[in-house]
């Protein structure tokens, strides 16, 4: 059961039970939805970007503990950060949850609580759902898009 304890750490459970930055922040002109057709999980990400800086970031949706906590921790980590920082953090986060070698220069902070996902390959898509949605929102012109994991 150690793998389970690694996966469902207190930080993760806390962000699942009480997600931070839940809802659409005022001024968020971009949005994108992440959808996993295999399980039906949906996460909608709202972002306000000015001059390459994420001014505000929020999310909504219904999902499992991993996708919800990942979205919440992501939103917390990226408030006020530059888009390039998002790119580097996403790369490091993805490497971590897929069991690869993350860039040592990047500090995952509380997101490290999701490292246990690497032992559960079936759940990687849950962990990265909101990230793919944010990536789509940042790269699409104002308006909505949906990204699918399949």
């Amino acid at each position: 059961m150690n793998e389970l304890a690694e996966l469902y750490q207190q930080v993760l459970l806390d962000h699942y039970r009480s997600p931070r930055h839940f809802g659409r922040p005022a001024g968020a002109e971009r949005e994108a939805e992440g959808f996993n057709p295999l399980c039906g999980d949906r996460v909608k990400v709202y972002v306000d970007v000015e001059e390459g800086v994420i001014r505000a970031l929020g999310f909504e949706g219904s999902g499992c503990a991993i996708s919800t906590a990942s979205a919440s921790l992501m939103a917390e980590a990226l408030q006020g950060r530059r888009i390039e920082e998002f790119e580097r953090l996403f790369a490091a986060f993805r490497a971590t949850v897929t069991g690869g070698a993350p860039d040592r220069e990047v500090d995952l902070g509380k997101l490290a609580a999701l490292a246990g996902v690497a032992e559960f390959p079936m759940r990687v898509k849950c962990a990265t759902l909101a990230w793919h949605a944010l990536e789509a929102a940042l790269h699409s012109p104002a308006g909505g898009t949906t990204v699918s994991t399949e």
């Binding site: 399980c39 039906g40 759940r123």
Partner: protein, 420 residues
């Protein structure tokens, strides 16, 4: 094999411990845990009789069916037609010519939607149910929209039953096709197929039954059901993937046009027109899946040897036991209370998302399905994004139900205090 899961616990009929030894995969361990496979509604595990029949066909009898004069081709043809006869016996169908081999339930329904298309006109109605799997829902929804017909859904009630009055209320003089499942793959409800068929026929509609969960879980007498078509998938009845069967009433077998065209389904091909073969060859274009058909025959013969009544009673008893055991856990709710249940049940755990429950169960070696079960219209009606589904087969035991219940309890405790 683990002693704890190998007790002689079949409440009826056969010796489960003995039967388990016929399934090589049940010897697998997942980390420290023996595999507890409760996902047979998705696909069943295979007994050695099936694995060996497929392997023997390739080792000793492989050739193209109905294509050559050489001896092996003759043997392969006989094996393939023998498999059709075995499937007909399994279905309780007197005439094997009314049984077409298909890839599975999905292909069977698509075949019907395509070949019945011309009978559906603008303003006609196609009636499906809230309990249908996407594969008996989407093809009809698409057909209705292509033909300008109305797509009507018969609603289930809170218990997961389909009330006859609801079906009667939704039937009209314009209903051309009624499509329904024999057993709900999400909730385990056994539907009153022949009662519904009688009403649909009285209204002048054809009745198409998705038997994907009926064939593995219920003794069948397809002719007595008085329906027009009955489809099932071999991989859910202990057989190989890529093979299934579609039983057609004598009238549909005679009247339906070809689905796909090509080799094997013709009589003579002229430069201008082609004369098509009779059923069932008319529906089997291309080189048939002979090894899979032989494997399917081995599977249904294996079921008959064990005793289909006994398998059904065993599975229902396990499911009812699991319902009672899970409902005894605070914070766990079984979804649907059908009066007649086959070996399938769905449940939710307060504060825990079904995927997370699935992961906790997986860590204990318990394989279940967590998700929408290809029944999104039903999930919407239930107001649930997903459920956890446990499904039972001949090889499952009461001890495995206990393992399931303990793992569910652990999941509940892990997430306790979570969002409701």
């Amino acid at each position: 094999m683990e002693r704890a899961t190998a007790q002689r616990t079949a409440p009826t009929g056969f010796d489960v411990a003995e039967l388990r030894t016929e399934f090589p995969i049940l010897a697998r361990r997942l980390g420290p845990h023996p595999l507890v496979y409760l996902d047979s509604a998705a696909t069943a595990q295979k007994p050695r009789a099936v694995i060996e029949a497929v392997s023997r066909f390739y080792s000793e009898g492989n050739a193209s069916v109905a294509r050559g004069v050489h001896r092996l081709s003759g043997e392969a043809t006989a094996a393939y037609e023998g498999a059709r006869a075995a499937v007909a016996r399994f279905l309780g169908a007197a005439n094997p010519a009314q049984v077409a081999f298909v890839r599975g339930t999905t292909e069977a329904i698509n075949l019907l939607a395509a070949t019945l298309a011309e009978r559906v006109e603008a303003g006609d109605e196609i009636l499906v149910t809230r309990l249908d799997h996407h594969s008996n829902f989407v093809p009809w929804q698409r057909l209705a929209s292509q033909r300008g017909a109305r797509f009507v859904i018969a609603e289930c009630d809170e218990e997961g039953e389909l009330p006859l009055a609801e079906v009667e209320g939704k039937l009209s003089g314009r209903t051309r096709i009624v499509a329904l499942p024999h057993v709900s793959n999400a909730l385990g409800t056994v539907l009153p197929v022949s009662e519904i068929a009688a009403r649909a026929h009285a209204a002048g509609a054809l009745v198409v039954v998705d038997g994907a969960q009926g064939a593995p879980h219920l003794p069948l007498a397809v002719e007595a059901l008085d329906v027009d078509a009955y489809a099932f998938s071999g991989h859910k009845t202990y057989g190989p993937t890529g093979i299934g069967a579609l039983w057609l009433s004598p009238r549909l077998a005679r009247e339906l046009p070809p689905y796909q065209t090509g080799g094997g389904m013709i009589r003579t091909v002229g430069d201008e027109t082609t004369d098509f073969a009779e059923a069932p060859q008319r529906f089997e274009a291309g080189t048939p899946a002979a090894a899979e058909a032989v494997g399917l025959a081995a599977a249904v013969e294996w079921m008959a040897r064990v005793g289909i009544e006994a398998i059904a009673a065993h599975e229902t008893a396990l499911a009812e036991h699991a319902v009672a055991r899970l409902e005894s856990l605070d914070g766990v709710r079984v979804v649907g209370r059908p009066a007649r249940r086959a070996g399938v049940l769905s449940f939710v755990v307060e504060g825990a998302h079904p995927h997370d429950v699935g992961t906790v169960l997986d860590a204990a070696g318990v394989a279940v399905r967590a998700g929408h079960h290809c029944a999104q219209p039903l999930m919407r009606r239930l107001g649930l994004p997903a459920t956890v589904r446990a499904s039972f087969a001949a090889f499952n035991t009461v001890e495995e139900v206990e393992t399931l219940a303990r793992a569910v309890e652990r999941a509940r405790d892990l997430f306790r205090g979570g969002r409701g």
